[in-house]
Amino acid sequence: MFAISEAPIDVVRLQRGLEADGAGAVVCFEGRVRNYNDGRAVNGLSYQAYIELAEAEGRRIVEEARGRFEVERISCVHRVGDLALGDIAVWAGVSAAHRAAAFDACRFIIDQVKARVPIWKREHYVDGVSGWLHPDGTSVTR
């Protein structure tokens, strides 16, 4: 399962979705809003997505993970909208029989989501400036 969400991510509900009788391992990753980037103080983020394509690409990533790793259940949700410090921006969880596959699949999913899914992050800096972030990790001043 992959989804874009305008509402805060419900971690308890997502964890419940990973339950399976054959799952001896569950690995979850939470990407949270941090108070700095590239040496600048950050006090919030806004995310925008091309939702139709983002959900299609996210589902492709989940299917690719199923083909690569011996997993039971996969869930991944990415927020859009305005987020405050500490808010969860992205959540990826995997259950599997054994921990190696769960760790590997979870890492694969979050790395692919960051690289491929059409979602963009706007950083809001403490000095009042904001800008869209580009994937080289440098902040933008316009």
């Binding site: 139709e52 299609a56 979050i110 059409p118 963009w120 992050k121 580009h134 316009r142």
Partner: protein, 79 residues
């Protein structure tokens, strides 16, 4: 030909809108981007963008049909 353009992130800022209807003689996505880049002052070169037509990724040589929805995707920064 008429196209529906959606803009995201810094391309949305540069265009000053999230979507627009465009009447153009361009018959492929590459030519259409060149026109829009001039009109809106887009600074991305095509090698930094991906392109989607009607909700699916495609390539820069894609021929366009009337009323296609075209999206030029800036480098992504989710997560």
């Amino acid at each position: 030909m008429n196209y529906r353009l959606l803009y995201f992130a810094s391309l949305c800022d540069a265009a000053g809108c999230a979507e627009e209807q465009v009447a153009s003689d361009a018959l492929d996505v590459s030519t259409l981007y060149s026109e829009l880049a001039v009109r809106h002052g887009f600074t991305f070169t095509p090698d930094r963008l991906r392109v989607a037509v009607n909700g699916a990724f495609t390539d820069w040589n894609r021929r366009l049909a009337d009323n296609d929805e075209v999206v030029f995707l800036p480098p992504v920064s989710g997560g």
